[in-house]
């Protein structure tokens, strides 16, 4: 792949900027980078799911001009998506042969032959599957094996795996890696999209690192350390945001977590492991982690979608959640910027104005409101205050990603008393929207609001957070106090992020 450039029209952001990418036969290459670095976009272009604005692709020396998933399949390129593409009600055999079925002369499916083909593949790779299992009854690791079987059935020679280990247990990861090495010996080239550094070291021959849409380096894995890769992923330059002097910190906490754990019976380690922290007025408390290490669960618990297994969350002295009760954060009206802004944070087909008043329904419908004028004028006022390019009556789905996020933030800020929770507030946004969101968050803190910032963007954390918690495998691996923060660097942070180091817990 040469000079691949892709610009998403929604945000005018260069998701891929002049990216060069080469893959050799029978090698395992890791494609690393933070969220939004452009890894997935690059692979989608290769697989034909999206097209590039400029650049060219060659597969086995042949130009690959009009990629589509079907065309990619013909060239032997296969992709296992992070979210599996399987028919849950079908058996393993049916899923694997779908689109490649052997048929008898009569035109009907040759069930026995199909089953046999699948059974022999399973045999060959020592998968723990039966061809007759229904996919819905399988574990996540087994489902992934079915996905890989699908690829093997199609004789792929370039296999792309998108975050294959994010949902697997350690045992499943080990067996996946065994399979991958075996495929490699059979001459298959494998691209592994990941940001888990020890896995990169573990399995791949080379590692290609992307940051902000550019390819920043390709290394022989044997010659670089995890730290080198981490530095390349995160970059050197941080974000600069003007911060004010800190307020006095002896105020009572607005939000406190008291030994909160979340345990799922089918997982080999707790999703949240004995989490305790407090958020005080006038500070930004950051919770940072590489994705898949508990931030998502933290958000779900706070949103009230998952009940905690033990511990308590309190807003001032009021208990928001206790064992087996989902949190009442939202029913209490605590402002919250969710990470999934398109599906949780707004209703795309509804007007901007209806989205704006969605969390202040009592104010605008007491309980009837015959005139919508008040709603419209309130929305117009908000749009003007926050400089959002929109009209109140347009469906919010017609706005850009940054525009939608500004509307959500504006709405939540208007409902603020002394606490706001922000999850991945700038994920996938362009530079200007990001700066805008950061300014707003700092402004809130300066106004004495307690901010809980949950984000996997490390630059953002270093720029914004007054205090920082690092999560790794569901637990807190490090705590940095306000005095630590001023001199904290990514290099110091990365071992904790990667779970290689763990601080002795001292309660702040």
């Amino acid at each position: 792949m040469k000079s691949i450039t892709k610009i998403y029209p929604e945000t005018q952001r260069r998701a891929n900027d002049q990216v060069d990418f080469t893959l050799f036969p029978a090698e395992i290459l890791s494609l690393a980078g933070e969220n939004g670095a452009g890894k997935s976009t690059l692979m989608k272009i290769l697989y034909g799911l999206t097209s590039c604005d400029s650049g060219e692709i060659q597969v086995h020396g042949q130009p690959f001009a009009h990629p589509s998933p079907i065309e990619a399949g013909k060239r032997g390129i296969g992709m296992v998506h992070q979210h599996f593409m399987l028919v849950e009600e079908f058996t393993v055999t049916e899923n694997v042969v779908l689109g490649e079925e052997s048929t008898a002369l009569t035109g009907f499916l040759d069930r026995r032959r199909n089953r046999q083909r699948v059974a022999s593949l399973i045999e060959e790779h020592h998968f723990s599957l039966s061809p007759d299992d229904r996919v819905m009854s399988l574990s996540v690791g087994q489902k992934q094996q079915v996905e890989i079987l699908k690829m093997l059935m199609r004789d792929v020679n370039i296999l792309i795996l998108d975050e294959p280990t994010s949902v697997l247990t350690q045992l499943e990861i080990d067996s996946l890696f065994t399979t991958l090495r075996k495929l490699q010996r059979h001459g298959v080239s494998i691209i592994l999209i990941t940001h888990k550094l020890h896995e990169i070291k573990d399995i791949s021959d080379r590692v290609a690192v992307m940051r902000e849409g550019r390819m920043v380096g390709v290394y022989e894995t044997a010659t670089v350390s995890e730290e080198d890769i981490a530095r390349a992923m995160m970059g050197d330059e941080g974000l600069s945001v003007v911060r004010k002097e800190r307020h006095q910190m002896n105020l009572d906490p607005v939000l406190s977590f008291d030994h909160v754990s979340l345990i799922r019976h089918n997982q080999d380690h707790p999703l949240l492991d004995d989490i305790s922290f407090t958020v005080h007025p006038g500070e930004i408390l950051g919770c940072a982690a590489v994705s898949g290490n508990g931030l998502g669960q933290l958000e779900s618990v706070l949103l009230g979608n998952l009940p905690v297994s033990s511990g308590e969350i309190r807003y001032h002295d009021e208990v928001l959640t206790s064992v087996h009760h989902t949190a009442t954060t939202r029913k209490r009206g605590i402002p919250f910027v969710p990470s999934d802004r398109l599906y949780t944070g707004c209703s795309l087909t509804e007007k901007v104005s209806d989205n704006v008043i969605a969390t202040s329904r009592k104010r605008f419908f007491p309980p009837f409101n015959v005139s919508r004028k008040e709603i419209e004028s309130y929305t117009s006022q908000l749009i003007e205050t926050y400089g959002i390019s929109a009209t109140p009556s347009a469906p919010i789905g017609t706005l850009s990603g940054g525009g939608i996020q500004k509307v959500i933030l504006a709405r939540e800020i208007e409902g603020i008393r002394d606490l706001i929770i922000c999850c991945e507030p700038t994920w996938g946004l362009d530079v200007n929207s990001t700066a805008f969101i950061h300014r707003q968050i700092v402004q809130l803190r300066n106004d004495g609001v307690g901010v809980l910032l949950i984000s996997s963007n490390i630059d953002e954390m270093l720029a914004l957070a007054d205090r920082l918690l690092v999560f790794s495998r569901g637990g807190v691996s490090a705590r940095f106090s306000a005095s630590d923060m001023s001199s904290l660097t990514k290099e110091e942070l990365s071992p904790y992020l990667l779970g290689k180091k763990r601080m002795e817990v001292t309660l702040a």
């Binding site: 998403y8 929604e10 949103l303 009230g304 979608n305 939202r330 029913k331 009206g333 919250f336 969710p338 999934d340 398109l342 599906y343 949780t344 944070g345 707004c346 209703s347 795309l348 087909t349 509804e350 209806d354 969605a358 969390t359 329904r361 009592k362 419908f365 007491p366 309980p367 009837f368 409101n369 015959v370 919508r372 009209t391 009556s393 347009a394 469906p395 789905g397 017609t398 990603g401 996938g428």
Partner: protein, 350 residues
């Protein structure tokens, strides 16, 4: 990242308007084509089809009267659909509403207005609880409302058929029918000699209140939020469980009301199978109106017009009533393909 489709506001509006006009136009074209194929005197047929319903005050009145239960049922459907629920048990709920009203009226002869109010309320309660039950089943055990409303409706139809044919049958007539309710229960006629009666006013009231409810009340706003994006509604602190049960109950109650008004205003007795098709047709009207209460009046009238046109063409020329079914089928096909498209796009996540 998931992509969002983008249109301007004007484009959005034009698209919706164009969609409906295209459906109406296509179905009328299909109708004309069908008549040319099936009739030996196509011009007479077409003339009587299109002009027939407007030939006299009597015809106009009956056409509008026919639209009344459809409009009321459609309002109910709209409420259910806008909240992300599905009620396709209209057939049974209309029929049950009709029978309950008839029984109340027969049990309390001569009660007049009080009796009418009791009869209507009981019908709404019965049909409302039947549909509400489906809502509750979905809330409690995630049982598909599509299936429960439909199956319950089939059972109800059989039960009502039995009630009409045995315990409440009027042995004096040749029809399988209950006795006629006494005249104190008859709704006043608005446009004699046609059957158009004050049920029309109730239908208008239903449409207006549903519109105000959906767009101007907090409950309606929350209902739309849940229907549009349940995840978002939950995030915003809406008790989404309530909005499984409440809209289903309302939609059942409105179907019941439609059936009850058909008895008090038009039929005056529950005749076996008299309401067959009303539930489905109301669903169709709601689909044409895209579940917007304000659009239900023209949609119901359009539907009643096609129906009256077919009757008139059958009466004055050589085509049969089935011609109306062809048009209905075409409309249903065109509209449901849009619905399928929406489901395919993941708008209604079950």
């Amino acid at each position: 990242m998931r992509k969002i489709e983008r249109f301007s506001v004007l484009e959005y509006f034009l698209r919706s308007l164009f969609g409906i006009l295209a459906i109406v136009l296509l179905s009328v074209l299909m109708l004309i084509a069908a008549i040319f194929l099936l009739s030996n005197q196509p011009l007479t047929s077409i003339a009587s089809f299109f002009a027939g319903p407007f030939s006299s005050l009597y015809a106009i009145g009956n056409m509008i009267d026919h639209a009344v239960p459809l409009a009321i049922g459609a309002v109910g459907i709209a409420l259910a659909m806008r909240s992300g629920n599905m009620n396709i048990g209209g057939e049974g709920q209309v029929y049950a509403g009709a029978l309950v009203t008839t029984i109340v009226a027969l049990a309390l002869p001569g009660w007049g207005l009080t009796g009418i109010l009791i009869a209507l309320t009981s019908s709404m309660l019965v049909s409302g609880s039947v549909a509400g039950l489906s809502g509750w089943l979905r809330e409690r055990w995630n049982v598909s409302d599509l299936i429960t409303t439909f199956l319950l409706s089939n059972i109800i139809i059989l039960v009502v058929d039995y009630m009409v044919a045995y315990p409440f049958v009027d042995p004096q007539t040749n029809l399988i029918s209950t006795r006629f309710v006494d005249p104190s229960y008859h709704l006043p006629i608005l446009l004699p000699p046609s059957q158009l009666n004050t049920a029309l006013l109730i239908a208008l009231l239903c449409v207006i209140s549903a519109h105000l409810f959906l767009y101007r009340s907090r409950t309606g706003f929350e209902l739309r939020m849940v229907g549009d994006n349940e995840e978002f509604a939950r995030y915003a602190g809406v008790d989404h469980r309530l909005y499984r049960i409440l809209p289903m109950t309302l939609s059942g109650a409105l179907y019941g009301l439609g059936g009850a008004l058909a008895i008090l205003g038009t039929y005056h007795a529950t005749i076996k199978g008299f309401s067959a098709g009303m539930g489905w047709n109301a669903l169709l009207v709601a689909l044409i109106a895209r579940f917007k209460p304000a659009a239900i009046i023209p949609a119901a009238l359009f539907f009643a017009y096609i129906d009256a046109g077919a009757r008139s063409a059958m009466f004055y020329s050589d085509v049969t009533y089935e011609i109306a079914y062809i048009v209905q089928a075409v409309i249903f096909f065109l509209i449901s393909s849009r619905i399928l498209q929406r489901i395919a796009l993941g708008r209604r996540r079950v």
